[in-house]
């Protein structure tokens, strides 16, 4: 029988606010254990949470970017469970009145993956196992998260991967998260079930927890799909359970233990007041939002005439796209700008992390100035790349590497003389040209450009050569 995948994702995204969700500790990643903590985020007796307004703003922005409705009257609830990384023995989250709901993410095929909800919550600390001991690092405790819950609309592994990529792009775009899977600032729980193709019934699902890389996620879904199909084929039932992906053997395995039996005893957190999101606040956040990446992708192709692949590479990171637009402003050669970024600049940045950061020694204004010289016919294309390399080496503007002579071009009288000389030096080419081989002109033109070390305006030179050689 033919089966199809039915999959929905719960994606946790760490918000990039400067401070934690309920206290003023920094959210910075990678510090010494337990140095980003205070009485509030380690839950000392008597402390109280105070909601960071920026967290609400970031989450609402995420909701707007994914076409969600915004809840004007949200609240926070306690999710009670016991684990050493959770110092209050409850996580402050949102249960039945999340900040955002009813949104969607559009895939490149045009298919919409519906979002059930987006809610805010606090992250827990981290257990560190060391030489038989378990230590607790509370630095991450209280870091703000949003949980984005999709409907089971995903039908293939490709769609699952694209959905997460889209989320990553959107969240990075609007600046609410860096979405680094390797640092855990984006993690997914995947709900997987299978059913006979064409059926509209949902099969029993399993949930694979805490996927923190694309490759693990796709492998885990594939494994889980195959496992469930095998079960069904052999007449067995799929058991609804939480599973974990074993990176070593590439299998998913059932998580024994009480987690499944947890009764979280949700109730409204009496320490926090209602979250009121006013229309004015939503309007202000909307006004601050950057262009939707999908729309920008289309615009880059029409407005700048970029090939889709190039446009996509630029759009992928908002910093890159913003840099491109600033550098391409007013230029006749946007593709050259794109090539500068995708070529020399990207190759210097190297790693994905460096591309995310996008620290480039050449300002977009300086790149714009360089390409303007090309626009004005003052330099040739080949000079653009070599000059850019020098600019990247030193951080200096183009003018530092182009002499007065380079920029001044060649005056018309001199150019005529050089052209006459070039024609005289290449009698065969002239003969060919006169006998109808128009291409022969290029050879003479090459000689002119060589003689002027690229400073001559090729259109001008061609005009003069045509006159000379026709004579």
């Amino acid at each position: 029988m033919n089966y199809e995948l039915v999959c929905g994702l719960e994606t946790h995204v760490e918000l990039a606010t400067k401070t934690k969700i309920f206290c003023s500790c920094t959210t910075e990643f990678g510090a010494e254990p337990n140095t980003h903590c205070c009485p509030v985020c380690i839950g000392l007796p008597g402390t109280l949470p105070k909601l960071n307004k920026a967290v609400v703003e970031y989450a609402v922005t995420a909701g707007l970017a994914t076409h969600c409705e915004i809840n004007p009257d949200a609240k926070m609830d306690r999710k009670n469970y016991v684990y050493p990384d959770l110092p209050k023995a409850y996580q402050i989250s949102e249960y039945d009145q999340p900040l955002c709901w009813n949104g969607y993410v559009e895939l490149s095929s045009g298919k919409k993956i519906r979002l059930t909800r987006i809610h805010i919550e606090e992250d827990a600390g981290k257990l560190v196992h060391e030489r038989g001991n378990t230590l607790i690092d509370y630095n991450r405790g209280g870091v703000p998260l949003i949980e984005i819950v999709s409907e089971p609309d995903i039908r293939s592994i490709g769609e699952a991967a694209e959905y997460v990529e889209q989320l990553q792009t959107i969240m990075r775009y609007i600046g609410v998260s860096d979405c680094k899977m390797q640092e855990g600032s984006l993690r997914c729980d995947v709900n997987v079930s299978v059913r006979p193709k064409g059926s509209d019934r949902l099969g029993t699902r399993t949930e694979i927890k805490n996927m923190n890389s694309f490759s693990h996620m796709t492998k885990a879904i594939q494994y889980e799909m195959d496992r469930q199909i095998d079960l069904l084929e052999s007449g067995e039932d799929v058991v609804q359970e939480t599973r974990r992906y074993n990176e070593e053997n590439g299998c998913t395995e059932g998580m024994r233990g009480k987690e499944d039996a947890n009764d979280y005893r949700y109730f409204r957190d009496p320490d926090l007041v209602a979250i009121r999101v006013t229309d004015d606040m939503v309007a202000a956040l909307k006004a601050k939002m950057p262009e939707d990446p999908q729309k920008r992708l289309a615009r880059f192709q029409t407005e700048y005439g970029l090939p889709e692949a190039d446009a996509r590479l630029l759009i992928d990171r908002r910093r890159t796209a913003d840099y491109f637009e600033a550098a391409a402003k007013g230029t006749k050669n946007p593709r050259t700008v794109a090539n500068c970024i995708l070529g020399p600049i990207f190759s210097r940045l190297g790693s994905d992390a460096a591309k995310d950061e996008f620290r480039v020694s050449v300002s977009p204004e300086n790149l714009n100035a360089l390409v303007s010289l090309l626009d004005a016919g003052k330099i040739r294309k080949n000079l653009v790349k070599s000059t850019l390399e020098k600019m990247l080496d030193t951080g200096k503007p183009a003018a530092a590497f182009l002499s007065e002579k380079d920029l001044a071009g060649v005056n018309p009288d001199d150019l005529r003389k050089i052209c006459e000389q070039a024609a005289a030096d290449n009698p065969n080419a002239v003969k060919d040209y006169r006998s109808g081989k128009e291409k022969a002109l290029k050879a003479v033109l090459g000689a002119v450009m060589k003689a002027t070390r690229g400073r001559a305006n090729p259109q001008e030179a061609e005009k003069i050569l045509t006159q000379i050689m026709k004579a």
């Binding site: 000392l44 109280l48 009670n80 009764d263 005893r265």
Partner: protein, 488 residues
């Protein structure tokens, strides 16, 4: 009143240099040494902290600088109020050895005024109880009769102030924990509007009910302390600060004020207590106040609503005591789970366990709607009943407790009967209103009776003023002196 160490009197003694702050402090510390064994009001004295503050105040006085009303006044804090560097146990074995690294907001505010902290006072474990007897240090005794309870949960604070071992104390009131022991010990206990005083640093029992307030020897003192601790605090999201200071309103006429009497408050009230309250009502009438009869049938749900919601919140608030980070940890265990289970089983007392179990139950899947949700709805009903009542009157008057202080040792026998002593105090916490208990004479057993005045939200100034008018008018008959502690 007045005879002993009210704040106003001590302030006068200090400013007129009849006694130095260090001498005064030593007097109290000495009295604690001699009398605390009998009263068990303090579970920890802090002489060094006290004398250091006293020195600062003496230096100011010597330099001719003016001092604030609470400056240099010896006082106490209930042991659920976080004090940096001073062990804070909530009188629970599970928090033994826990020394906070931060100050509760109320304590920071008072510290800034050079309050002289004599020590931390006894309480029911995690403020769960009405007798102070669930304390892991044993209960505080009533200064009027040490065979009887001081009340609870702020029993230690009430015994300390009632027994003249402190000029005032801060307690916390979740279901009557300030007003009830104040009534039992014949002093003043004031629970402000929810949100008027910051809860930051108050170890949580039931977050939507808890409120810090003063335990004092006079209403005037309560107003002074209330004014000093009520302020908006950005560390407490539910804090709203006060509408107006109360002290300047004292002395206002209460002629024409309508005092509401809801008959439900008097169901099951002991005859002699009822008599004392009725007599007090006559005093109010003589001061020109009018009485209005009211009926608030929804008050009969107060106790179940309170115990369901407060226990639910407590079950969550107390989840953090697992022996991992601070406080008590069991000595022998096999693994983490075993350690947490044993720590909690050994660290919590019976009453706390009872309430955690009850609260866990009412929040569980399948029971939430029948208990927690229903109680939340009824809480709304009671809130609206008070709103309606205050359309018809300015203040309400009721007994604080339907009886006087009873003999020690009763809680252990029948917890539910003890819950019933909260019947007149919990409605105020359910609705978040200000309420005060003021002494109004004695019962047939010679033990103090307290009357309760209740106002609409943020009507502290009016509540305290009316209580103050009554106290001044009934001074002779309402107040029963105690022979214990400091006499000046």
């Amino acid at each position: 009143m007045g005879k002993y160490g009210t704040i106003a009197r001590l302030h006068e003694l200090l400013t007129t240099r009849q006694i130095s702050c260090a001498e005064l402090t030593k007097k109290y510390l000495g009295a604690i040494e001699t009398d605390n064994g009998r009263l068990n009001a303090y579970i920890k004295a802090t002489p060094e902290t006290a004398l250091a503050a006293a020195e600062k105040v003496d230096a100011k006085i010597a330099a001719g600088q003016p001092i604030a009303p609470l400056e240099g006044i010896p006082m106490t804090l209930k042991d659920n109020i976080s004090t940096a560097g001073i062990e804070t146990t909530c009188c629970s074995k599970i928090l033994k050895g826990y020394v906070p690294i931060y100050d509760a907001t109320v304590w920071s505010l008072l510290k800034r005024q050079n309050a002289v902290l004599l020590g931390k006072t006894n309480m029911d474990e995690f403020a769960m109880g009405s007798t102070c007897e669930t304390s892991c240090f044993g209960g505080a005794k009533n200064p009027h009769d040490t065979g009887r309870v001081a009340g609870g949960s702020s029993g230690g604070g009430a015994a300390a102030v009632g027994g003249n071992l402190a000029a005032y104390g801060l307690g916390s009131d979740t279901g009557g924990s300030i007003r009830q022991p104040a009534s039992f010990c014949g002093i003043v206990g004031f629970k402000p509007t929810y949100g008027a005083v910051s809860r930051y640093g108050l170890v949580a029992f039931a977050s939507s009910f808890d409120q810090i307030g003063p335990i004092t020897q006079s209403v005037e003192d309560a107003a002074l302390v209330y004014d000093a601790i009520s302020a908006y605090d950005e560390m407490d999201s539910t804090s709203s600060g006060r509408k107006e200071p109360a002290f300047p309103s004292l002395g206002n006429d209460i002629r024409g004020k309508k005092i509401g009497i809801a008959k439900e408050y008097f169901d099951g009230v002991r005859e002699d207590v009822n008599g004392a309250i009725r007599k007090a009502l006559d005093v109010f009438r003589s001061l020109g106040a009018e009485t209005v009869e009211l009926s608030m049938p929804s008050l009969k749900y107060s106790l179940p609503v309170y115990y369901i919601l407060a226990c639910a919140e407590a079950s969550s608030n107390l989840g953090r005591y697992d022996g991992i980070r601070y406080g008590y940890q069991t000595a022998h265990y096999t693994d983490r789970n075993d350690m947490v289970c044993k720590t909690r089983s050994e660290g919590f007392g019976a009453e706390v366990k009872r309430r955690i179990l009850l609260g866990t139950y009412v929040l569980s899947a399948g029971y939430y709607d029948a208990y927690y949700k229903k109680a939340q709805n009824l809480r709304g009903t009671i809130v609206r009943a008070f709103e309606n009542a205050f359309q018809k009157c300015d203040l309400m008057l009721a007994p604080t407790v339907p009886m006087t202080a009873f003999a020690s040792g009763r809680t252990a026998k029948d917890p539910v009967e003890t819950y019933l002593t909260d019947i007149c105090t919990v409605p105020v916490n359910i609705a978040g209103l200000p309420g005060i208990s003021v002494p109004c004479g004695t019962g047939a057993d010679g033990m103090p009776v307290g009357l309760q005045l209740i106002g609409p939200k943020f009507s502290e100034a009016a509540v305290l003023n009316a209580a103050n008018r009554y106290e001044l008018a009934a001074r002779e008959s309402s107040f029963k002196a105690v022979k214990a502690g400091v006499s000046l």
